[in-house]
């Protein structure tokens, strides 16, 4: 499966042509004084994306991503380009929401449903609303709908040619490294985290009960030896021997206790053994978060607390200190408006 050069390109020149076209499209799409052919820039950028995908895909026809990948990534990149080039800040923020939603589509294609939903809620729902509020608070009201009524720093970009060259160099370097590096990666075959199905015995019981393998009052038997607390949560003290398989099923045996200390063993040889006993995405993320990185959650909580304190402190200061400067700026603005 992992033959050498499996992730190879059609031709490196095609990739670099795509990069150069992309930089050209970016350069054309950036707003400048006098002529700024933004639509042509967008079209050239789309052509560049097509060339890059052809360069990546032609030699790997058996391993192309789902066609939804192309739809979502085209939407994400086009709206990212509009974030960068749109002269109106509110529209730029709305295009950023579109980028977020399209990357959520990519997350779903990568089997990360939990993060896709979290991204919609946290980014599109909370962070971007804060951005929109600040943009509306801190922008002078445009006098008309024409682009000329916008402030000068929104209409024109700074150093577009320099930025396009920097972007071209970075993109060419990154894609060279990615293409040469990802050919050497070995794909994983077994989901290591699925072993943690033994940490959720009630779920195993429920799955077995729904498959009519055990009765309503039967429970997974405890081990005779006292549970080993030295390695913490990894030993539940229950008699289970479950192994995740490369195809996603979980096979093995579970010992069931029923009246009068009697026991029987249910194994996956039984035809009624449930096929979908693996952990869901949210369960996997939650266990990884709580079992592998418990300290990091505390740190994240402290970061959020500090951000909240900082925002409160900043918001208080501006009321007390800036009255004189604000009056001055208002006076200057009125004078400028009158002139």
């Amino acid at each position: 499966m992992a033959e050498p050069g499996a992730a190879s390109l059609a031709s490196p020149i095609l990739l670099y042509v795509g990069c150069v076209l992309g930089a050209l499209g970016l350069l054309l799409a950036l707003p400048r004084p006098r002529v700024s052919p933004q639509v042509i820039g967008l079209l050239v950028g789309a052509l560049a994306l097509g060339v890059i995908f052809i360069a990546l895909g032609v030699r790997n026809a058996d391993h192309l991503p789902n066609y939804n990948f192309y739809i979502f990534s085209a939407i994400a990149l086009a709206s990212a380009l509009r974030v960068v080039t749109h002269p109106r800040p509110v529209y730029a923020a709305l295009y950023f929401i579109l980028t977020i939603l399209a990357s959520c589509g990519l997350y779903v294609l990568l089997a990360a449903e939990f993060m896709a939903f979290a991204l919609v809620i946290v980014y599109a729902g909370a962070i971007l609303i804060t951005y929109l509020f600040v943009i509306m608070l801190a922008t002078e009201t445009p006098t008309s709908d024409a682009v000329e009524s916008l402030s000068e720093y929104d209409r024109y970009s700074r150093e577009p040619a320099f930025a396009a060259v920097i972007g071209l160099i970075l993109l060419a370097g990154l894609s060279t490294l990615l293409v040469s590096g990802s050919a050497q990666l070995k794909p994983q075959t077994v989901d290591a985290g699925a072993q943690r199905i033994e940490w959720v015995p009630r779920r195993v019981e429920r799955a077995l009960r729904e498959a009519d393998l055990i009765a309503a009052d039967e429970r997974i038997a405890r081990t005779d030896a006292p549970p080993n607390r030295l390695d913490g949560v990894t030993d539940s003290g229950l008699l289970m021997d479950l192994k995740p398989q490369p195809d996603g099923r979980v096979l093995g045996s579970v010992t069931i206790a029923y009246g009068n200390n009697q026991r029987r063993v249910v194994t996956s040889d039984d035809p009624r053994w449930p096929a979908d006993m693996g952990l869901t995405n949210a369960e996997g993320v939650g266990m990884s978060l709580l079992a592998d990185l418990p300290g990091a959650i505390e740190t994240a909580g402290i970061i959020l607390l500090m951000a909240m304190l900082g925002a409160v402190v900043l918001a208080r200061k501006k009321v007390e200190l800036d009255e004189a400067a604000k009056a001055q700026a208002h006076a200057a603005g009125a004078a400028g408006g009158g002139a």
């Binding site: 499996a6 992730a7 995908f53 990546l56 790997n60 391993h63 991503p65 939804n68 990534s73 990149l77 990212a80 380009l81 960068v84 800040p89 730029a92 950023f96 980028t99 977020i100 990357s103 990519l106 779903v108 990568l110 990360a112 991204l119 946290v122 980014y123 962070i127 804060t130 951005y131 608070l137 801190a138 720093y153 929104d154 024109y156 700074r158 930025a163 396009a164 920097i166 972007g167 970075l170 990615l178 293409v179 990802s182 050919a183 794909p187 994983q188 075959t189 290591a192 995740p244 996603g248 990884s288 959020l304 951000a307 900082g310 925002a311 501006k318 800036d322 400067a325 604000k326 208002h330």
Partner: protein, 121 residues
């Protein structure tokens, strides 16, 4: 099977424990690299302070996409967990940076980054 569930099944062709080929991974990584470069170019070229911060969020987003892609490739949830922390940092940064931007705007009544070019070390 109705049309909606067909569409849902097509979208969720994630088939989680099946190994992801390096070529498929490379597609996602290249998309993430392009998004990062667009964010960087935006950070250089835009002069509105708020849009400059929006472009840093775009770069966060690109990094998150490659983290999720690697998490899928290695069949390991740690990459997804890391995106949660990227989200945390982005939220904290948005709260603080936007408060600062409002403060700066109150002082000069402009969002132009070049209006603050006298801030030198």
């Amino acid at each position: 099977m109705n049309h909606f569930s067909t569409l849902a099944l097509t979208l969720a062709q994630a088939d989680w424990p099946a190994p992801l080929h390096q070529a498929t991974l490379m597609h996602y990584l290249v998309v993430s690299a392009i998004m990062f470069v667009i964010g960087l170019v935006g950070f250089i070229t835009r002069r509105n302070l708020i849009i400059m911060f929006l472009c840093t969020e775009l770069m966060f987003q690109a990094a998150g996409l490659s983290l999720i892609a690697f998490s899928r490739f290695h069949l390991n949830h740690t990459g997804e967990t890391f995106v949660i922390f990227v989200l945390t940092v982005a939220a904290a940064e948005a709260a603080l940076a936007l408060a600062l931007v409002v403060l700066l705007f109150r002082r000069k009544m402009t969002l132009d980054a070049e209006g603050w070019s006298e801030l030198r070390g």
